[in-house]
């Protein structure tokens, strides 16, 4: 998950924080990291660019992007062999 945190920081230009400052279960949006709707789109781009995973169902977004752990679990479950 450390790599994923680093990728999130790079993709979203979160230069004011370090990977260590992001908790595995910390909410990514609103009261957590404070990400917004544009950030959500960038996370979708991250999944496609880094892991070749397409988020086919937009309704899955809130659950998939709720935390770093949920993103990591989604990546593990959908990563192509």
């Amino acid at each position: 998950m450390a790599d994923l945190k680093q990728q999130i920081i790079a993709q979203l230009n979160l230069q004011h924080i370090t990977p260590e400052q992001i908790g595995n279960d910390q909410p990514l949006f609103v009261e957590g990291l404070g990400l917004d709707s544009i950030d959500a789109l960038e996370l979708i781009v991250l999944l496609q660019q880094q892991y070749n995973i397409k988020l086919n169902n937009a309704e899955d977004g809130p659950k998939v992007f709720s935390s770093v752990r949920s993103m990591a679990e989604y990546i593990t479950a959908n990563k192509h062999a």
């Binding site: 979203l12 979160l14 004011h16 404070g34 544009i38 789109l41 960038e42 781009v45 496609q48 660019q49």
Partner: protein
């Protein structure tokens, strides 16, 4: 600034030098960063505190619009287009960032022109005052393209607060020459 200086890096150095704390800054494009920084310096003494948000306007001019970001976005669009870059492919976004930061809700306009047309700017803003559209206005030249950054912002108020320069073409030109001459 010398031409061989990395202006994007220079903007980041300025942000850290002044010890600003505004995480959104990191996500802005270069034009917005330049405008945000220039406005922070311009308004450091809370000049706007006597005005209602809708009484404050912003009128800016630049030459290259948002071309610096447009080109970067075009490059990403060859592969996977960046949503974060896309939202900055309009030059007036810088005024949105300034408005959010300082609670400005008055009229805002950004003109794209080959040069800083001082006479036009003076008359346009004067008209905003005379028609009661705004009581105070953040104005000036704001340009970022091809690693060249220029910012000459000034605050104009309808009612003289004392120790202010008169709002004349000559004084606007002095400010512009002082900052970019």
């Amino acid at each position: 600034m010398e031409e061989n200086t990395d202006r994007a890096g220079w903007l980041m150095l300025l942000y850290k030098y002044f010890e600003f704390d505004y995480p959104k800054f990191y996500k802005m494009d270069n034009l917005s960063k330049l405008g945000w920084l220039a406005t922070e310096v311009l308004l450091r003494n809370d000049f706007l505190k006597t005005y209602q948000p809708q009484e404050i306007g912003i009128v800016l001019v630049n030459k290259s619009s948002s071309l610096d970001t447009d080109i970067k976005y075009y490059e990403t669009a060859k592969g996977m287009a960046s949503p974060a870059l896309f939202v900055y492919t309009l030059p007036n976004i810088v005024m949105g960032e300034i408005s959010i930061r300082h609670g400005v809700k008055g009229e805002n306009t950004l003109f794209v022109s080959d040069c800083f047309e001082i006479g036009f700017m003076q008359k346009y803003v004067q008209n905003l005052f005379e028609t009661g559209v705004v009581q105070s206005c953040i104005c000036g030249w704001l340009e970022f393209f091809e690693n060249k950054a220029e910012a000459a912002l000034y605050l104009v108020e309808k009612i003289d607060q004392g120790k202010s320069l008169l709002f004349t073409e000559e004084n606007i030109n002095k400010i512009y020459q002082l900052t970019n001459g």
